[in-house]
């Protein structure tokens, strides 16, 4: 029996499946991720700020602002995870990166952090804008990654699913 003319095709094209976790499972995992992002975006910074404030030192950013920005990042990150199998993943990735970028920019314009040492006559101005500007590389890169995913999903829907959720 001779091989068909297109016999070489199966050597480069293979049948690969994907297994998308159920919505309930994704929501459950997103809930656990919410706990981590709550610690990272809200609990930790708010604790540090409250501690500094309790020592009589002016804080560079309000606790309310940190909480609001943190909530926005938490919700968007969780939604992005839950909707990862859908075409909303790319736009949500862009949104998360955009919000994080805006948050960092908001912190940059508050630099330098000026405070008076309690009980003394010394005042300190601490600049941290350079560090934050380097940190802004992270959302900038994620922003472009989100754009690429959006383009991919628009051009070839579900093409990435076998690689995101291999069976």
């Amino acid at each position: 029996m001779s091989a068909p003319a297109n016999a070489s095709a199966p050597r480069t094209t293979e049948v690969v499946g994907y297994r998308i976790p159920s919505l309930g499972y994704r929501i459950l995992v997103a809930g656990f991720r919410l706990i981590l992002s709550f610690v990272a975006f809200i609990a930790l910074p708010v604790t540090v700020l409250a501690y500094v404030h309790s020592r009589g030192v002016a804080i560079p950013v309000s606790i309310a602002a940190v909480t609001l920005w943190g909530l926005a990042l938490m919700v968007l990150s969780a939604a992005r995870y839950v909707l990862k199998p859908t075409v909303a993943y790319g736009p949500l990735s862009i949104a998360v990166a955009g919000v994080l970028f805006a948050y960092l920019y908001y912190l940059v314009i508050l630099s330098p952090y000026r405070f008076v040492v309690p009980g003394g006559s010394a005042s300190v101005a601490a600049g941290y804008s350079t560090f934050l500007e380097i940190l802004m590389i992270v959302p900038a890169v994620d922003f472009f990654a989100g754009i690429l995913t959006t383009i991919e999903d628009a051009a070839h829907p579900k093409e990435r699913l076998p690689f995101d959720y291999p069976a």
Binding site: V124, A125, G127
Partner: protein, 274 residues
């Protein structure tokens, strides 16, 4: 879980790989920055216990008509990262707010886990009636406005400003000279000259004090010289009979004194003789 099987390529599409690579880059940068920030935070906590040890900051030496304030301080950096470009500038003004001078130190780098010595010096000319002259004779408060700029852990610039008043002990606090009533002793005319002050400086005034008594017309009636060895917080109160030149009356004149310490002579303000 819903399982679907569709034909596809095992090799991910290029755009997918590009997006994944970007996310990896972002993740690696994030992890590196978090680790860096954590080490900076721990190091800064250590550096917050940095000690500034002053040495001889209150040393005062009157020399060449200048009031020299020199000293040094040692800055220790127990943190991991270097404190770079440490530069200190201190602006001094007297109680009345009159500018006296500026002292600077640095720039210098204090590596992590080490310390560095910063010498500082300020020379205040006291000849004539400059604002600094009062520092010799009047205890007062000196306004010190100091600021220091440093860079910590390469990325974090810090600027520290300090404004405070420091008490100043004058080396010739309350300097006063009086010429007593002349009297004839053994055919010569003598006048008792009394010099008194209190040393409120931190150094020992060791040397000599010399003086001349001038008449109202500016003629020199007489003079004298005495050794002096005045410890801090001690008073100098000496009376010496001075032989006056015949026909020279000190009334209405003035007494001019100068101190010599370490071979350098500094004039003291003229004291009028009533």
């Amino acid at each position: 879980m819903a399982a679907l099987v569709v034909p596809t390529y095992r090799q991910p599409p290029g755009i997918y790989r590009a997006a994944r690579a970007l996310r990896w880059v972002g993740g690696i940068v994030l992890v590196l920055l978090i680790v860096y920030a954590a080490t900076v935070a721990v190091s800064a906590y250590e550096a917050a216990h940095a000690t500034v040890e002053s040495r001889n900051l209150s040393n005062v030496l009157v020399a060449n008509g200048d009031l020299d304030i020199s000293g040094s301080f040692t800055l220790s950096n127990p943190g991991w990262y270097a404190i770079e470009g440490v530069q200190l500038t201190a602006r001094l003004a007297n109680t009345s707010g009159v500018y006296l001078g500026t002292a600077t130190a640095g720039p210098q780098t204090v590596d992590g886990g080490s310390s560095a010595l910063f010498p500082i010096s300020i020379a205040l000319p006291i000849a004539g009636s400059t604002a600094a002259e009062s520092l010799l004779f009047v205890d007062q408060y000196i306004d010190v406005n100091a600021w220091a700029n440093v860079t910590y852990a390469y990325l974090f610039p810090l600027s520290v400003t300090l404004a405070e008043s420091r008490s100043w002990g004058a080396p010739f606090e309350g300097f006063h000279a009086t010429v007593g009533t002349p009297s004839m002793v053994g055919g010569s005319l003598f006048a008792p000259v009394t010099l008194l002050w209190t040393n409120h400086a931190s150094f020992v005034e060791q040397g000599s004090i010399s003086f001349i008594v001038d008449s109202a017309g500016g003629a020199t009636c007489g003079g004298g010289s005495d050794p002096m060895d005045v410890a801090p917080d001690s008073a100098y109160d000496e009376t010496e009979p001075v032989t006056l030149n015949p026909g020279c009356s000190p009334l209405g004149g003035e007494l001019l004194a100068s101190v010599t310490i370490d071979g350098s002579s500094t004039p003291l303000p003229p004291e009028p003789i009533p």
